[in-house]
């Protein structure tokens, strides 16, 4: 498989600078931990927000940190697509007889993000143990669905940003509103935010689908039918379709940059 070769190549190249990779992973873990401490400190002062407690928020933090760092590690090619466009590298991708998405996926991987990933996984496990959930097979599936949906949504946003950078060429900071914004927002159950904000991140960008909607199913409660909450991760994944379509459409419009 070509993808396996890509992965092997990236692992080998980052192992050439082993100390560098280890130190960068460590620094990424420090970044994640200090953001975790911020959440912790806030709950030390207030104990609850709306109907949610610290451990609810902790699970949200764990999920979003895990999926975001996973995407930053393996889908870095989309995340830094602007560089590929700027340097004119994209022209070269076109002439190779391999699907372009395949090449972008393999173009770049950043294993130092695994430091953050590790923190995310540990935090999720702690949160799941501390939350009083009566487990059933469905709940386990929904929990796994949260992670899958999170990866798909963040990947879709990265593809959307990559598509935009074909027009803007430069990587404009406001694209971060969707990616990094979703991340920062999703440290907490997002129905605590003001209406317009939580609606934007439920219906337009389906962050809620790997956030408070499935969480409501896990801990019980909520005003809607339980299956709506349970299936929400599946709904969220639909965002992939318009994002990929937009990206492919933009590629067709691409006229070339650089030399």
């Amino acid at each position: 498989m070509l993808y396996q070769k890509y992965v092997k190549m990236h692992i080998k190249s980052s192992m050439q600078y082993r100390l560098n990779t280890v130190f960068l992973s460590f620094s990424q873990a420090v970044v994640a931990v200090s953001e975790l401490l911020a959440v912790y400190v806030l709950f030390q002062t207030f104990t609850t927000v709306g109907t949610w407690t610290f451990y609810d928020s902790l699970l949200m933090f764990g999920v979003v940190t895990t999926v975001f760092s996973f995407c930053e590690c393996f889908f870095r090619g989309y995340d830094s697509f602007a560089e590929i466009v700027q340097s004119g590298e994209l022209d070269r991708l076109f002439i190779r007889p391999v699907n372009i998405h395949y090449q972008i996926l393999g173009a770049k991987m950043e294993f130092s993000k695994l430091g953050k990933f590790f923190v995310g996984v540990v935090v999720s496990i702690i949160a799941v143990c501390k939350l009083s959930i009566t487990w059933s097979i469905w709940k386990v599936l929904v929990l796994l669905g949260m992670f899958v949906c999170g990866v798909v949504v963040i990947l879709s946003l990265m593809i959307l940003g990559a598509g935009m950078s074909i027009y803007t060429i430069e990587n404009l900071e406001f694209i971060n509103i969707f990616t990094a914004g979703s991340k920062d927002l999703a440290y907490y159950p997002i129905n605590i935010y003001q209406k317009w904000l939580s609606r934007l991140f439920t219906y337009v960008i389906p962050v809620a689908c790997f956030n408070y909607l499935p969480l409501t199913y896990l801990v019980g409660g909520g005003t809607l039918l339980p299956w709506v909450y349970a299936l929400s991760p599946c709904f969220g994944m639909l965002i992939m379709i318009p994002c990929v379509l937009f990206f492919n459409f933009s590629l067709k419009k691409y006229q070339g940059t650089g030399t």
Partner: protein, 264 residues
Amino acid sequence: MSYVGIFKMHLKGELQYRGKAISGIVTQVFWGFMRISLFTAFLATSSMQDFSLYQMSSYIWLGQAFLAAFYITVPPEVNKDIVRGDICYKFIRPMDIYNQWYASVLGSKIASTLLRFSPIIILGFCLPNSMGLMLPVSFEAFLLFCVSMCIGVCLCSAVILIAIYLSIKTLMPKGASAIVMSVTSLLSGALIPLPLMPASVQTVLNFLPFRYMSDLPYRIYIGNFTIAESCMQIGIAFVWLVALIVIGKLLMKSSLKKVVVQGG
């Protein structure tokens, strides 16, 4: 003065990138709304005595407006100097290397702040009370706010110089500045405003230099301190500034004695 020249050069360089600034402002405004919305939710659960909703939103808008002033990052050109070995050229010049870097960091900080702060401040004033920016509590408070802002920016630059020292030591600027940045933003109240932290944590943070960067000026502005208290705190901030510059200079001197030049 040559240091003034370096300072001016970086000031002009930053002012060139207007498109980037506009995109940055849009992002910062969005983040402002997001953070205000978050802390409003917490304050709605249980309100605080000495930190009203209006004070909180003012604190956030000041933070967004002056984000560039207190953002901790090793400037890309210094990164390049360290990784590529251009640091040699800095040695050739008959200037102190600490002062050279300090001037360039401070210059780009002031320029990018000047370019970005006013639209956000104006927007803040236009918003309704529960989510907007208040006027300074008094004229004296405003003057003290300005003084402490100046000291704060200098203090922040001194912290960046220590991050540069760590980059030289480790030769891994990306990792070193990521660590300094995340630790500083937690301890300075950039992630969570200090008044929203438990009292015990605040006591500890009072003994560290970080909160004298951005937290102090903002809280003088929103009227958390009396004039006398503010003056005393500004004094502490000034002492920290001197201390950090001295520490930074000593560290830099010791590290540059045996610097390993990368590349050639």
